[in-house]
Amino acid sequence: MFEHKANDKTGLRIIIVGCGKVGRTLTEQLSKEGHDITIIDTNAVRVQETTNLHDVMGIIGNGASYSVQMEAGIEDTDLIIAVTNSDELNLLCCTIATQVGNCAAIARVRNPDYSKEVSYLREKLGLAMIINPELEAAKETARMLYLPTALEINTFAHGEAELIKFKVPAHNILDGITVANLSQNIFSNLLVCAVERENNVYIPSGDFKINAGDIISFVSHRENARKFLNKIGFNTKQVKQTMIIGGGRAAYYLAKDLLSMGISVKIIELNKARCEELSILLPEAIIINGDGTDEALLKEEGISNAQSFVALTGIDEENILLTLYARRVSTAKVITKINRITFREVISQLDLGSVIYPKYITSETILGYVRAKTNSKNSNIETLYHMFDQNVEAIEFRISEDTELNDIPLKELKLKDNLLISFINRNGDIIIPSGQDCIKTGDTVMIFTTHTGFNDIRDILA
């Protein structure tokens, strides 16, 4: 029985402790990718709901308990992911698991008290990864405030290459020109990877025509991105000051980041005690004790002159309304945090500007790790991002051995449809490839595709 079981099984055995939003997103994605998943949660209803929708086994109980872990088969497990809402429980789960079984462990730890000690904890407890969604979200927010024109910025190749998403305004010089034209006449050293138009995502070919209102994602070298945006008439200066509504953990991380970048920060928080805490933690920031959803207060604090506005309250609806309001009364760069991951389609139709999903960031990071671990034999995937509501995957492959693709000019390779080689990283040099370039051993290659489940660079061939 177990012979053929082993044969057609490529996935890992994974235990996910905690069936909240992140747990479910992970379950959905990982079970789709063919891993054997067991979920553990104390809430029977949640376990039931998840097992009804996904092909996974559910166990009701405390994930940190030895006997529950044994029941979940910890001894044969490759990876345990603890994403309950308690940091301590997550750490305990992983500690026990690494003692009992021979598995890698990922814990979600959100408390800022631990955030400074992450690397110490990780090392001492023998964990593979400690993830802090608020911190990650704050980092992403900070990146966007650094280049306010962009709706979204992702970095690849240790920050050397950037994927920048922006919306083409009406009467822009890009309106009405083709992608080929753009790279010939306007700016050569970049590659348009994807265009979002009316809920569809296109991976454009050369004769694709850009219209006003399209959301374009392009990859380029870090400095070139700024030059390009400048050239087409965008403001590329970083903001000088920012207004944050809600003083939660994400606000703290963000404020800390921004202050160190020399951006002045104003935080509006309702809870007096929390305000006092923040003022101790962030002496340079202006902490306002008041209701951030109070229009009068926002006006008083000068929302109309704000350069940037970040809605980070715990309630999605409030964040959305605040953002819409801020867009009405000011020209500020606005960023909205959305916790829930449902109704994404509706949210993306609202004109919110930049939206960050801490839950997605968490699951993305973990998925990237799992993908890489799955392929530890070939060690091919460096990083993996899901983009545009998981319609597009951006995969960074490391070419560690000779493949049949090496040293062949790209134009001679027969690639799949809806697939793009966006850049080649050769010893830290970012090459935006043209048809003459070729892949060499030792490169990392970033591809964009609407196909899913790529595991090897050879998968890009048609």
Partner: protein
């Protein structure tokens, strides 16, 4: 409702049935029987229709609870309707109603027969009759899940609708491997039984068909006098294997593959064996007077107790001649049934254990009105939702039982016959008492009664709700209106 997935799965069910029907063809080839050609025709028919139904891929692979239940109920009806055709074509059971009764009785592992002379059937028909038990025992959808890769994670709802028991758990994270493991255990146990029967001097055909009947806890006998004339050794082999097939298959998995052997102390299995031993002891004492020796009494009572509690329905003796207490015990055992997650029918031991614990809890609450106490099974608290569904199950079962008894009573065959024939059908056992007793058959009943009993057999096998759901007005409306897409 996702009708396209229902069509797709039903198509696959027919393809599987067509393939399985080739086995009786082989038997016919071996015994040089002309009837085999009819099985071949129906097999081809199933393949063609199944192919046409499953040719188009479904729009979505989502199977919610309702799709799971509807697919399961329709699969079983479809399976029986096609499975009955060969009996009519061969002319061995000329009436389609009778053939359908026999086939449903086979697939639902009831084993109630309308035939008075089984031995006159051709080998291929006998084989197919017994083989339906084996297919129905573990379930055809579970088989489908084991071999057909259905994408999407929601196909657990198919397994839930088909597998007996108040809660259905997986053995391993993936449905596909869970289904495979179940079938591997099922298949291996059947093979062991065939080997042991062969060792006891039974011929191959008899050992295979008897083993099919035992494995599915079905109980179609292949001889007119049931199991009466087999040797002591064979009777005990069958007794032991009937008992084994009534044990939850999860227990075997834990015993064989799990490292955590402590978990083997499953409450349900423990109670199952306690009930069997107690019932056997009482009946042995009661019938020792009318038996030849203590040995015969023990053999007969052990055989009959395990045959009834696992809802197999084989008989070594005409237990209708036993005393009232013994018969009453047997009727009680009919209701209790086997363990959940086994191939047996009935209400299931676990439901009774939980209910009895609930009763104790309720009584305690009269003494300590504010006492909080959670009911536990296998050392784990039972969710309120589970208890609620068990209670509703009992009530629905009683209602269905009463209505069926009322309909069957229209024929006027006496209370014992009416009561026990409904009991035996709804619990998937086979023989009742009185006119439908172990030495008699169901052939004399009117078509109406037969259809009522067929419904009861299907309802009993699928644990009521999947079948009852088909009659929900909203669902019927849903079925006949076109979707938005």
């Amino acid at each position: 409702m996702n009708k396209s997935i229902i069509r797709y799965v039903l198509g696959h069910i027919l393809i599987i049935e067509g393939a399985l029907m080739l086995l009786p063809c082989l038997v016919a080839l071996f015994y040089q029987e002309r009837n085999g050609i009819y099985f071949l025709i129906v097999a081809a028919l199933c393949e063609v229709i199944g192919f046409l139904m499953s040719r188009k891929k479904p729009k979505s692979y989502l199977i919610y609870t309702k799709e799971g239940c509807v697919t399961t109920a329709l699969s079983w009806i479809l399976l029986s309707m096609f499975g009955a055709i060969p009996f009519v074509l061969t002319g061995e059971i000329p009436s389609y109603t009778d053939a359908l009764f026999e086939t449903i009785s086979g697939f639902t592992t009831t084993g109630a027969s309308i035939l008075s002379d089984v031995e006159s059937l051709s080998h291929c028909s006998i084989f197919w009759r017994s083989f339906t038990h084996w297919i129905g025992g573990m379930g055809v959808l579970v088989f489908l899940l084991a071999i057909v890769p259905l994408s999407g994670g929601s196909n657990i709802n198919l397994m839930k609708a088909e597998s007996p028991g108040p809660t259905v758990g997986k053995l391993v994270p993936k449905v596909r491997y869970t289904a495979r493991i179940l079938y591997i255990i099922y298949f291996s146990l059947t093979l062991i039984q065939i080997a042991l029967l062969l060792f006891g001097g039974m011929n191959l055909f008899d050992s295979v068909t008897i083993s099919f009947g035992t494995a599915g806890t079905g109980g179609f006998s292949i001889k007119n006098d049931g199991m009466a004339n087999y040797s002591l050794y064979i009777k005990w082999v069958v007794t032991i294997f009937m008992t084994l097939f009534g044990v939850s298959f999860n227990a075997y998995y834990i015993l064989l593959f799990s490292r955590d052997k402590k978990a083997f102390l499953i409450d349900e299995v423990k109670w199952y064996f306690i009930i069997i031993l107690t019932a056997t002891a009482i009946i042995t004492i009661r019938i020792i007077g009318i038996s030849k020796s203590f040995g015969t009494a023990l053999t007969d009572s052990a055989f009959q107790v395990s045959s009834i509690i696992t809802t197999t329905g084989f008989s070594t003796t005409d237990f209708d001649l036993w005393d009232e207490t013994s018969k009453a015990i047997l009727v009680l055992l009919m209701f209790i049934g086997a363990c959940s997650g086994s191939t047996g029918g009935g209400i299931k031991v676990s439901r009774f254990v939980v209910t009895i614990k609930t009763i104790f809890k309720e009584i305690t609450s009269f003494i300590h009105p504010r006492c909080v106490k959670k009911i536990k099974m296998d050392g784990k608290p039972v969710e309120h939702e589970t208890i609620r569904s068990i209670n509703v199950y009992f009530i629905t079962f009683i209602m269905l039982f009463v209505i069926s008894t009322l309909l069957v009573s229209l024929e006027g065959h006496g209370f014992i016959t009416t009561f026990t024939s409904v009991t035996t059908c709804i619990n998937n056992i086979g023989p009742g008492l009185g006119k439908t007793g172990p030495t008699c058959n169901f052939g004399f009943l009117s078509p109406l009664t037969k259809y009522v009993l067929m419904f009861d057999m299907l309802a009993g096998r699928l644990e009521l709700f999947p079948l009852l759901l088909l009659f929900h007005p909203a669902l019927i409306k849903d079925f006949f209106t076109r979707g938005k897409h």
